[in-house]
Symmetry: C2
Subunit: 129 residues, 2 copies
């Protein structure tokens, strides 16, 4: 990118996502009230468009190779309270109101284990709910 292109992307007011070679951008989902990190997923342009139009988080499933609306089978949809993009427009932040657990394991968040001080073992986080 030229200096002018970088400036526009970082300081501009136009959404211009930088998708990777696979056409994807990383989306970070947090709880809109608590700030808890719920999950990470990927979006292609169609998933982002569906998310912004419906107000409910829709991702691109790399394993299934198709759009995947969060909660399409479980009912645990993620209502998007606010969507942000980062400085170089290669990552999205969705502040969401989740209708249920974010994780397929049934945990509220996919990040239910902390790394211990030894740098090798994991400690379960007690779900505050």
């Amino acid at each position: 990118m030229t200096h002018a292109e970088t400036h526009d992307r970082e300081q501009g007011r136009v959404l211009d996502p930088r998708y990777d070679a696979a056409g994807l951008i990383t989306a970070v989902v947090t709880h809109h009230e608590t700030g808890e990190l719920l999950m990470l997923a990927h979006m292609n342009a169609a998933a982002l468009a569906a998310t912004l139009e419906s107000g409910e988080a829709t991702f691109f499933s790399r394993s299934r190779g198709r759009l995947w609306k969060k909660g399409e089978t479980s009912g645990h949809v993620m209502r998007v309270v606010e969507a942000r993009i980062d400085c170089d427009q290669d990552a999205l932040w969705l502040r969401c109101d989740p209708a249920g657990p974010a994780c397929h394991t049934g945990e509220a968040s996919c990040f239910y284990r902390a790394i211990e001080a030894d740098g090798r073992s994991l400690r379960p986080i007690i779900d505050p709910k």
Copy 2:
């Protein structure tokens, strides 16, 4: 992965990160008190080891091709209050106490613009500081 391997990775107490084909894992950095999403970066095994040993966030810079301790030049180090890993161990969450702005633009967070309801334009977020 076999079913048993998946179970161990998801429910086990051993840190066993799944690095991608480039040897990297995505790290999400939030403010440990406010929950604000500060930045996304990548780590290789050496960066993760350095982070866990020093207690200060160290990443792998894809553009520079080397380890990059956050704040090594600016002094804006990120003290790691807690590190977590997600269900399938392919993403890290660092809850950090930042010594300064996370973003190279000088913003506290890289996510300083929200996507407007039209799905095309961006609105600057007023920094609460």
